[in-house]
Symmetry: C2
Subunit: 340 residues, 2 copies
DNA sequence: GGTCAATGTTTAAACGATTAAATTATTAAT
DNA sequence: ATTAATAATTTAATCGTTTAAACATTGACC
């Protein structure tokens, strides 16, 4: 292992002080430094394959140019797409992103954030699990810059970027009703997460506005870590019995993924026997025989905005920015109008 | 922003030296330290909400307990699943994982690795892009511990963990032939990557062994960054014409994803009109009307092994470990025997 | 020739921890 | 009471960098 070259090594070879080397390599005091010496320093740095030790740099400057990203599960396509967008955006500003999955567990999130803070990340992007309010308040008290993404708590005055969920679902339900479906069911999660509950609220509101009496058998609320079979079972329940639903709204990509599998298993045709709308797109939906109508989350805008807000918040900005982005309803075959 | 507490702060409040505080908090020299003082130090550390500055620690110890992971694209399910596994495995040993996507570009990979090294990662897990040999050799010369994952270069004596690709594909082709399919096509990437070419080799070898003359129209080799439509076109070519193939082998999840969409678009039935085998599973394959036969990559073993080898290599281990894992052929409906 | 300004470079402290070695305090043994 | 051994704590250097301030050199100008 060839020993790493440090400023000192360069300084010694050239025969100057480390300070001068530092100034040259950071392009500071350019007009004050002898051009020839500067050139020589750069040459030697190149020769010795010098890499500045960011650790030492960070220690001194108290900046790491690193942000932490906490998602529920990096292997979920929603999270990984978002991660990729954030990675690219952060890169534009020379920031590196450190990831971690919370597994929907406050404890795991806590441990993760602690690890990230120990590594002196300059700020955090967090998609918080249920019940994470106290820790967020704590972060605020400690003055650590962060932006919530995808999920937020209405009672907390924090930065966030999220989908306007109730509006989006409302739009979807209205579309189903307008297309002639009459018994619209929904599969969602049972949680205290505001974002998710907004989806339910949008659903109920749309029914009410259309004077459709809601039946509680239409709504399936599953644990947030529900397994594939559990989801299949819920869908099964909605579609059997004497009065099955004629349309299903899936409140997440995971729900849709397993739900559609069950629809396949039941050998039902979409949309003739049951119409389908999902939140979140996924390239993979296209494998389903019928193209699925879905609510397009503005992932790109979400990731970019959140990153931008965080970076601004890092370089001291005391304002709170809260953004609710509008979802786009992409209409496809799975909600073709009845008799249409 | 409440100023971060440092060892010094604790030392001052308690009225001892920073050294003592350090010893106590690191549980060193336990038998030599006054129990009461130790207790007091711990209390104060708790009160002041002390978080050791890992940056400073790293600077001193020259260890960051961080490893870098370079994948082609974190938003690809193969990469993100692997990332999740590695994240979990590394966590067991108190390591954090730093990610980045290379986008299949050596230049981007180079920049990424440079950034990771600047951050003093202790080692790297790399799924290298095509033509990355020189940089890997350079890493070796610099004595930086790394393990290749999923892809490797046979001419380079490096650590790696990968699928035994030719064997896996061989097995798949044999299965197709045994099931009565006679015109087996393959969609793969055109690249110099050994791993990918092994897939082609396995395919050709299996045909030869079975005395089936290979036709070049059966093999579609696409650029590694081929778009969805380009993939669809390739599949279209295979399936039209006077002598279409009766089975298709997809050499990656992306290829299968778009390929199956095209099969959907052509309204062909699987496996009656065309049988399908894919490398890599994906939960989403299940959306396709017919369950797809696939080669299961041992992702868990791959991620865990690679992490383990890297960590060992970090704490000085001069041996080179090369592992080719066997893939498992999961047989489903998409390759149902002809007339079976 | 002395003053001033501009130019070029070095000194030295600091960031927050670790840790070998030195120092001081306490206790036990003679 | 002295000494030795042990216990408890501190000192001070160090990791690799940054950066304000100090210092040195040169030339211009009166």
């Amino acid at each position: 292992m060839t020993k790493k070259t440090s400023l000192k090594d360069i300084a010694q070879t050239v025969g100057v002080s480390t300070a001068l080397v530092s100034y040259v390599l950071n392009n500071q005091k350019e007009n004050r430094i002898n051009k020839l010496v500067a050139k020589r320093i750069r040459e030697v740095a190149e020769e010795l394959n010098y890499r500045p030790n960011q650790i030492a740099k960070s220690l001194k400057t108290n900046k790491t140019y690193t942000i932490g990203l906490v998602v529920a599960d990096i292997s979920n396509p929603f999270s990984s797409s978002l991660a990729r967008i954030i990675e690219d955006e952060a890169d534009k500003f020379n920031y590196t992103v450190l990831f971690g999955s919370s597994d929907e567990k406050p404890q795991k999130a806590q441990k993760l954030i602690s690890a990230l803070l120990n590594r002196q990340v300059d700020g955090l992007l967090i998609s918080p699990p249920e019940g994470y309010e106290p820790q967020l308040t704590e972060l605020q008290n400690q003055g650590i810059p962060f932006v919530l993404i995808d999920r937020y708590f209405p009672d907390l005055k924090t930065n966030y970027v999220a989908l306007d969920n109730s509006e989006a679902i409302h739009k979807a339900v209205q579309h189903l009703l307008d297309s002639g479906y009459e018994r619209v069911g929904m599969v969602t999660f049972h949680t205290s997460l505001f974002t998710i509950n907004e989806r339910k609220r949008g659903y109920l509101a749309a029914l009410k506005e259309n004077k459709i009496p809601f039946r509680k058998t239409w709504l399936k609320e599953l644990p947030i870590d529900a397994s594939g079979p559990a989801i299949a079972k819920a869908v099964d329940d909605l579609l059997r019995g004497q009065k099955p639903v004629d349309a299903i709204l899936f409140a997440s990509n995971t729900l849709a993924l397993y739900g559609l599998q069950q629809i396949n298993a039941l050998q039902l045709t979409v949309p003739e026997q049951v119409a389908v709308v999902s939140i979140d797109q996924a390239e993979s939906y296209n494998l389903f025989r019928t193209p699925i109508t879905y609510i397009r989350q503005p992932l790109l805008a979400m990731g970019q905005l959140a990153t931008k807000i965080l970076l601004e918040s890092i370089k001291k900005n005391n304002t709170t920015t809260q953004v609710n982005l509008e979802g786009e309803l992409v209409i496809q075959e799975s909600t073709r109008p009845v008799n249409g």
